[in-house]
């Protein structure tokens, strides 16, 4: 029976994420009149449970900055100040706003609402230099994003046939479908913590996508989720591990080190094909340049997925490129070479918000890999020290079920936002979005177009 893909969310509250953008302060001249209770639709204000004649302290984290209580207080007894704790969250890329948005998404699985409107800058760097086209914005309002008109969010990993040469003897290439254009990484920030790994993997399993797992962290507990594991290993690790594991996973990634020997890679690929001919082979690289030799592996159907890594703020490790530019560069190159469908491009690093997924797809990726955002969904504050012993939110002690649900909630919210964007663009299938640069504007390009004639002479 046909069943539409659906993500089940359920509220997953986490006390450590109760940090509001602002703090509502109730002054002493409060009358306990209760007007704020009736005005607030976010339940910031309540009467004291023990003594209903008095007001309890405002629950600032619930506040969406609508100012309704502040403007209508008969005594002007309420005020809003910036929350210092909030401003200490994250860094310049993972801004407090980004972190809080993820927290909210992870809590309810709903599309975030910014009460007082967007007051941020019109343009920024990285993903913020890309504007998506919403010219058909009327569409989602007609029927809702989960309405009659189904919008597909599944994407294929693996190669696609450019054309069918021989119907009688049809050999389908290796490929399979994942339900969302998002893969997960069980080692965000290089943390190797079993509870985190388990939570992320379970989430990937339930969502119908894959989660990258370093082979050295494999444990028997993960066995039920084998089909959702994308196994990541280096040459050395491959030779050390038993082949039973390799036989069951659907995607194996070889991380290419700075100076690897092609001979060794040849040998490894051959070894993998023998053990698990059905598995997709991914080549993971931090390079911003790809040699002809590597491309040859894809052409010869020995590798299927190109996995590009950037750091957590989206900067490539070499060449100082942003992940979206990096991917766009490869995408354009492959399209020009006529071999785009032979290679699946996925990118890790800097995917921090729902809109980053469609943006990276517009730049040419098939799917995005989420890493740090998953940790944030679990309550991470992106503070500088990252050791599980010193974690301010004790992230390793989080209940795995709760952590899983928060990840699922966040991804549901991201998928819903993806649907909104697709629907507003009039696109019914996320596969069609890949490389659709016509559906976006790039600040740099516009700037160049507008001012080139002045400055380039």
């Amino acid at each position: 029976m046909y069943k539409r893909y659906h993500i089940d969310t359920s509220p997953a509250k986490l006390a450590s994420t109760n940090i509001g953008t602002f703090r509502i302060i109730r002054d002493e001249n409060c009358l306990n009149c209760g007007r704020c209770i009736s005005l607030c639709i976010y339940d910031v204000h309540e009467r004291d449970r023990n003594d209903p004649r008095k007001m309890s302290d405002p629950l600032s984290p619930c506040c969406k900055n609508c100012f309704s209580c502040i403007q209508n207080c008969p005594q002007q007894a309420l005020k809003m100040i910036r929350n210092e704790e909030f401003e200490k969250l994250g860094n310049t890329y993972w801004t407090p706003q980004i972190i809080q948005t993820i927290w909210n998404e992870a809590e309810e699985g709903e599309i975030p609402v910014y009460g007082a409107g967007y007051r941020g800058p019109f343009k920024g760097t990285g993903f913020d230099a890309i504007w998506t086209d919403m010219s058909e914005i009327v569409r989602p309002t007609r029927d809702g994003i989960h309405g009659r008109e189904y919008i597909a969010t599944s994407v294929d990993l693996g190669r696609k046939l450019p054309w069918i040469q021989n119907f009688e003897n049809l050999i389908l290439p290796n490929s399979f479908e994942i339900q969302i254009p998002m893969l997960l990484d069980t080692h965000p920030l290089g943390l190797n913590c079993n509870t985190i790994i388990l939570a992320i993997l379970k989430a990937a399993h339930q969502l119908g996508t894959l989660a990258f797992l370093d082979i050295k962290n494999y444990m028997d507990e993960l066995k039920p989720y084998l089909r959702s594991i994308a196994l990541r290993c280096s040459f050395e690790e491959l030779s050390q591990h038993d082949s039973a594991l390799l036989k069951k996973v659907r995607l194996i990634e070889i991380v290419l080190s700075q100076k690897f020997s092609h001979a060794k890679l040849e040998q490894t690929l051959k070894h993998l094909k023998e053990h698990n001919p059905a598995a997709l082979i991914s080549l993971g690289t931090t390079d911003s340049y790809i040699t002809e030799e590597i491309l040859k592996y894809f052409h010869e159907e020995r590798a299927d997925v190109l996995h590009l890594y950037a750091d957590s703020s989206g900067k490539s490790f070499e060449g100082n490129l942003f992940i979206s530019d990096l991917i766009r560069q490869f995408h354009v190159q492959f399209v020009q070479n006529g071999n785009r469908d032979e290679i699946t491009i996925i990118g890790t690093g800097g995917i921090a918000a729902a809109e980053h997924v469609p943006k990276i797809i517009i730049c040419g990726a098939d799917a995005a890999v989420l890493d740090l955002s998953l940790l944030v969904a679990m309550g991470c504050r992106v503070c500088k020290v990252c050791e599980t012993e010193h974690c301010p939110v004790e992230i390793d002690r989080l209940e795995p079920e709760l952590a899983k649900q928060r990840i699922i909630n966040m991804i549901c919210a991201w998928r819903d936002q993806l649907l909104e964007i697709l629907s507003a663009m009039g696109i019914r299938d996320v596969r069609r979005l890949r490389g659709e640069v016509g559906r976006a504007m790039f600040y740099e390009e516009i700037e160049k177009e507008s001012f080139e004639f002045i400055f380039d002479k």
Binding site: E28, N29, S38, R53, K54
Partner: protein, 600 residues
């Protein structure tokens, strides 16, 4: 609503100046407090009173302090403050028709919302419209606009089985002005109103009261300066106000004259006159403070458990001599006497002479006589009492001529043959009481003459000057002014003064002497939002919230916490139709500015 517990009756019968408890016991009792909501309720209480041979004492807010609601026969105290609707207002004709139980504060608030204003209003802004008409009638702006009766277009009077409407021109009208409800109950009042006018207060200091009164005399003669309000504060009065101020910004030891102008074109001639009469213009903040204090005449009550004194209408030319001789008198008996006078026309002033006392001390008894003596001294200077009540019954002949008095007495007989309304007061004398008071008054005249017979007394009194060290407890310091009732959100819903600050303080006082208390009343004390509004308006500036907390723990230990009652109360007031409007109405009253002004 009928309130019949002892405590509630005591609360409603309490006046600003209380009788000594010994005298109280001798007087007849008030059977209960009845709160009519409409005219029909009034008729009901009339017939009930007739059947049970009770008399009726009409009560507004109980702030007059003359003993107007002191029962001299067994009676029902009829609290009219629930008859407080604004019935109609005419913006064109500039009139407003209100029920007599409406408080001036509420009326002023209503008018402000409609960009209108009152001509005159009493200094006790928390008293009722009807109450002021039936007692004093002179207050702020009376200098220009005169007695309140000049601004009343018509009244409606209710007496058994009949209602009648009297316009100001009607010859019967005067029988309801200043007669303390002895002729019937005034139920509706139509008042003249006006558009708000900008005004500016000036405070001028003078070295001596001679200079100050000379300035006032000159001011009366001047034709171009037309103040709307003039008040004189002697140096002791200002000194008393200093208790409320930071010592760095206090009033100097000088006599003060406060006057208010609406016509700024005459400011220049005023300044000239001040210079000519060697007056010193006060700093703005002192002026503003004193002008604001007009609503809090008893603010020094905070430091003294009782304030005694007299209110007299005096020819303004005699003000100087009166002040001089009362000062001498006060020095003899060690009183810390202060005087404030409000000019009500070019010739007359209402003079308040006040001195602190302590009801627990023997000296208090003599102080009661001394307050009489003040009236006696005033009568030497052609002064007459401002109100009668019971205290001034011996001075009735100073207020009314023989013929006039007979007129009033005859009217009373005609209108109220059964003598139901506020009986045994000025127009239906009870000889026993009259003679007792007469005797007391005669005694006091001897005091005022400082004859050698009383020298020993004066010595004793000098040793007991009635001054207090340190602050009083809140329940002792409450001035009973009723400011807390109008701002109390709980009163809005419950309409029983026992749940306001004033009521709870009495409850606390009661608990000091007796542990017996009906549970219903104990539960009422919990119906409080801890909103601080009573603190904001309290003229004694009491810190009340800690007192409520103390009271609640005390009651909780005895009666338990009425959780359900509290929940019900919260629901009730949040759903009250006037609640929103009520909350918005005192934006200016309790914001920080107001607080700062008070703590200069």
């Amino acid at each position: 609503m009928i309130l019949d517990t002892d405590l509630e009756v005591n609360l409603y019968a309490k006046e600003t100046v209380e009788l000594p408890s010994i005298l109280k016991k001798l007087l007849p009792k008030i059977q209960s407090v009845y709160q009519p909501e409409n005219i029909q309720d009034l008729q009901d209480v009339f017939s009930y009173a007739r059947r049970n041979k009770l008399s009726i004492i009409p009560r507004g807010a109980g702030t007059s302090g003359m003993g107007g609601i002191t029962p001299l026969k067994k009676s029902i105290l009829t609290d009219l403050s629930h008859l407080n609707r604004i019935l109609h207002y005419d913006k064109k004709k500039k009139t407003i028709l209100v029920e007599s139980g409406l408080r001036w504060w509420e009326l002023k608030r209503f008018l402000k919302k409609h960009s209108l204003d009152l001509y005159t209003y009493p200094t006790s802004l928390f008293s009722t419209v009807g109450g002021w008409l039936a007692t004093g009638g002179c207050g702020v702006n009376s200098f220009k606009y005169g007695h309140i009766s000049n601004l009343v277009d018509s009244i409606e009077v209710v007496s058994p089985n009949k209602n009648k409407k009297l316009s100001r021109e009607n010859p019967e009208f005067k029988y309801f002005v200043g007669t303390e409800g002895q002729m019937g109950i005034v139920s509706k009042i139509e008042l003249k109103i006006r558009e708000p006018v900008r005004s500016k207060p000036y405070l001028i200091f003078f070295n001596t009261n001679k200079e100050a009164t000379a300035f006032l005399k000159e001011l009366m003669r001047s034709t171009d300066i037309q103040p709307i309000h003039i008040a004189y504060f002697d140096r002791n009065r200002l000194e008393h106000k200093n208790l409320l101020l930071n010592p760095k910004v206090s009033f100097p030891r000088l006599e003060g004259v406060l006057l208010v102008l609406e016509e700024f074109s005459t400011e220049k001639s005023l300044l000239n006159l001040i210079e000519k009469k060697r007056g010193i213009l006060a700093e703005d903040y002192l002026t503003a403070f004193l002008w604001n204090e007009r609503f809090f005449p008893f603010s020094i009550r905070r430091f003294h458990p009782s304030i005694l004194g007299s209110e007299i209408i005096l020819p303004s030319e005699n003000l100087e001599y009166f002040v001089t001789s009362t000062r001498k008198f006060a020095d003899n008996y060690g009183l810390s006497l202060s005087t404030e006078a409000t000019l009500i026309n070019k010739n007359e002033a209402v003079v308040f002479s006040l001195f602190p006392s302590h009801p627990k001390k023997i000296s208090h008894f003599f102080h009661l006589f001394l307050s009489y003596s003040l009236s006696h001294i005033a009568s030497k200077y052609k002064g007459k009492p401002y109100g009668i009540g019971i205290w001034n019954l011996p001075l009735l002949n100073k207020v009314f001529s023989q013929k006039n008095l007979r007129d009033y007495i005859n009217y009373k007989k005609e209108e109220d043959p059964l003598n139901v309304f506020n009986p045994a007061k000025s127009f239906s004398g009870d000889l026993k009481i009259k003679y007792a008071l007469r005797l007391a008054y005669l005694m006091s005249t001897l005091f005022s003459n400082s004859s050698s017979l009383f020298k020993p007394f004066s010595k004793i009194l000098n040793n007991h000057p009635g001054k207090m060290n340190g602050n009083l407890s809140a329940e002792e310091a409450c001035a009973n002014c009723g400011a807390c009732t109008v701002v109390c959100p709980a009163y809005l819903v419950n309409r029983n003064e026992i749940i306001t600050a004033k009521g709870k303080l009495l409850l606390l006082k009661h608990l000091k002497f007796s542990s017996r208390l009906p549970k219903v009343l104990a539960e009422k004390a919990f119906l409080c939002l801890h909103c601080h509004l009573c603190e904001h308006v309290c003229q004694s500036k009491l810190e009340l919230i800690p007192v409520w907390e103390k009271l609640e723990t005390l009651l909780e230990s005895k009666f338990g916490r009425p959780k359900e009652k509290i929940d019900e109360f919260i629901k009730l007031f949040e759903a009250h139709p006037e609640y929103d409007q009520f909350l918005d109405s005192f934006g200016n009253f309790s914001n920080n500015d107001f607080k700062d002004k008070h703590n200069v």
